[in-house]
Symmetry: C2
Subunit: 326 residues, 2 copies
């Protein structure tokens, strides 16, 4: 019997589903991160190997029984990235056909349940992706924390740190962010933040984790926090509008999905974003994702093989698969 | 015979001078970088050890003949930093009294030839420092590339990269920065910049080195480049004004020194900065540094020991010392 596998891999975890050629999901598995740019080839091999082997074992299949492996991975943009991932999969023993996409593509397909629509993501990073009925795929933003990731958690966290030091220098007025960030970092004085931020163990994820402190200060009407979040919303609206303008929806209702920790879970950001988008773009429907990116990868695989499936059944199957998890 | 040593150590090199107790400079020496945060303890030991030993050998003295060692080092802000440097000096065999300052302080003293005045530095990073006649020392900015280094080369380089990608996404209009940065990086297409910037060998110095491309585009009237540089000037004016406001100059003429690759060597930035400062602050005199930070450290040492010296003689002695260099 032959199977397809869909995988979504990012900076914190790797999630996979195995399905058969009748459009049914049979098992799921997860492991550690698989963004090889940040964790290296060795750990990416481990995470992808774990997920693929576990999925095959779950259905008593060997790795040769995979008909098609579809992956959406973070940090996959260039031909070199594809080459590196193919080498990793080769090492794991994968012999099947492979579809490899940037994880924003699998997120888009999973979120909509089809290869059509727009998704704007703000988590540690930010990006907007869209696909129209002609299969045209466009993006805006998502160029990473050094070049441009405006409106992301990293961007918000970094600007909050900047605001604390501007206030500490007396360049700007006082802000609630100072006491809140000190409390969050468990530090006594502002100058101690320097040693913490520039220590070797601090990653961009740590900077992004400061964002919830900014939401809290904004709820308490802190002007500095509100300014930072308003600018973040501006940037997210900008990348979303840019994507929509590049696509042809021919007057159809535009479905826009909000994803990532910032846009999906933080009501403050979600509401401000929706308000702005609804004012500026007609005929738009904003919602949260139907499925995750790993399901997105699986749907891409099934679509590629012209296999029929029902999105309602998939919902039920995911629940079954999740309840079977140890 | 006893001697004093003044050292200035940063991210690219370490410079030192040895003087006697009659206020005369006898020899100079330089070595590799000594910012232990970026290059580690081992290489910092080597650089500082090289400079100190060479200076002692130059005057046929042993390390025990040093009466006072004065250092201005990059990245020295916290008690832990002092402790680490003291351990390094102990390892090298230094037994004398030590004066340890942030390199911005020795830059200020060297630049003015006295412990008084204001200095605004924009190189890879940015900072403003000032000291008034009461010996009060204040700073603004200089919190590093993650927290806040507005107006620095890194800041300008990073924003230029962001602008190129905003234009590439069609979020903003075209800019000369695109072709100029591609040419500078020797890359063919914009998406290739991503792989370059996020490769492991890229440091914040590499990002700062993009700044000259922005100056070039601004000279050719590129709006995007001019905007980036205007904001950089705004930030440098802001930190300078903040420092001046915190000090008491009692109506005396305020001497402001501009230093660092951006403010010292780039006429475009220097002129815009001077124009803005002259408009906003009365009774200010802007110039470039009299001496470097290593001379600043030496002057701090002599001042501490109440040793008299003449700044004119120092100028002559530096020339002599430099011509004796191998």
């Amino acid at each position: 019997m032959k199977y397809v596998i869909g995988i979504d891999g990012g900076g914190t975890k790797t999630l996979g589903y195995i399905g058969n050629l009748e459009g049914k999901i049979i098992a799921s598995s997860s492991s550690g991160p698989s963004n090889y740019h940040s964790i290296g080839i060795k750990r990416t091999k481990e995470s992808l190997g774990d997920v693929i082997n576990f999925l095959c074992n779950s259905v008593n299949a060997s790795i040769e029984d995979i008909q098609l492996l579809s992956l959406g991975l973070a940090g996959i943009d260039r031909p070199e990235d594809k080459k590196n991932i193919e080498e990793i999969l080769n090492f794991i023993g994968v012999k099947s056909e492979i579809i490899l996409k940037n994880d924003a593509v699998s997120a888009l397909v999973g979120a909509h349940g089809k290869e059509y629509g727009v998704i704007t993501i703000s988590g540690t990073g930010s990006i907007s992706y869209g696909m129209d009925s002609k299969g045209k795929l466009v993006r805006a933003g998502g160029w990473g924390h050094i070049i441009d990731d405006e409106g992301s958690g990293y961007d918000i966290g970094r600007k909050a740190l900047g605001a604390v030091f501007k206030s500490y220098d007396n360049r700007t007025e006082k802000t609630l962010l100072t006491e809140k960030i000190l409390k969050y970092l468990n530090l006594k004085t502002v100058d101690k933040i320097v040693g913490y931020i520039y220590s070797n163990e601090i990653t961009k994820e740590h900077i992004a984790q400061i964002a919830p402190v900014v939401f809290e200060a904004a709820y308490e009407k802190d002007k500095t926090a509100i300014d930072i979040l308003d600018k973040a919303v501006d940037s997210l609206v900008e990348i979303t509008e840019t994507v929509i303008k590049k696509l042809e929806f021919n007057g159809d209702k535009i479905n826009l999905i909000l994803d990532g920790g910032i846009l999906r879970s933080v009501k403050y950001m979600q509401n401000k974003f929706k308000e702005r988008i609804n004012k500026e773009i007609n005929n738009i429907n904003i919602s949260t994702p139907l499925f995750n990116g790993a399901i997105g990868s699986l749907l891409i695989a099934w679509n590629h093989l012209n296999i029929e499936y029902s999105l309602d059944n998939i919902k039920i199957q995911i629940k079954e698969v999740n309840s079977n998890k140890k």
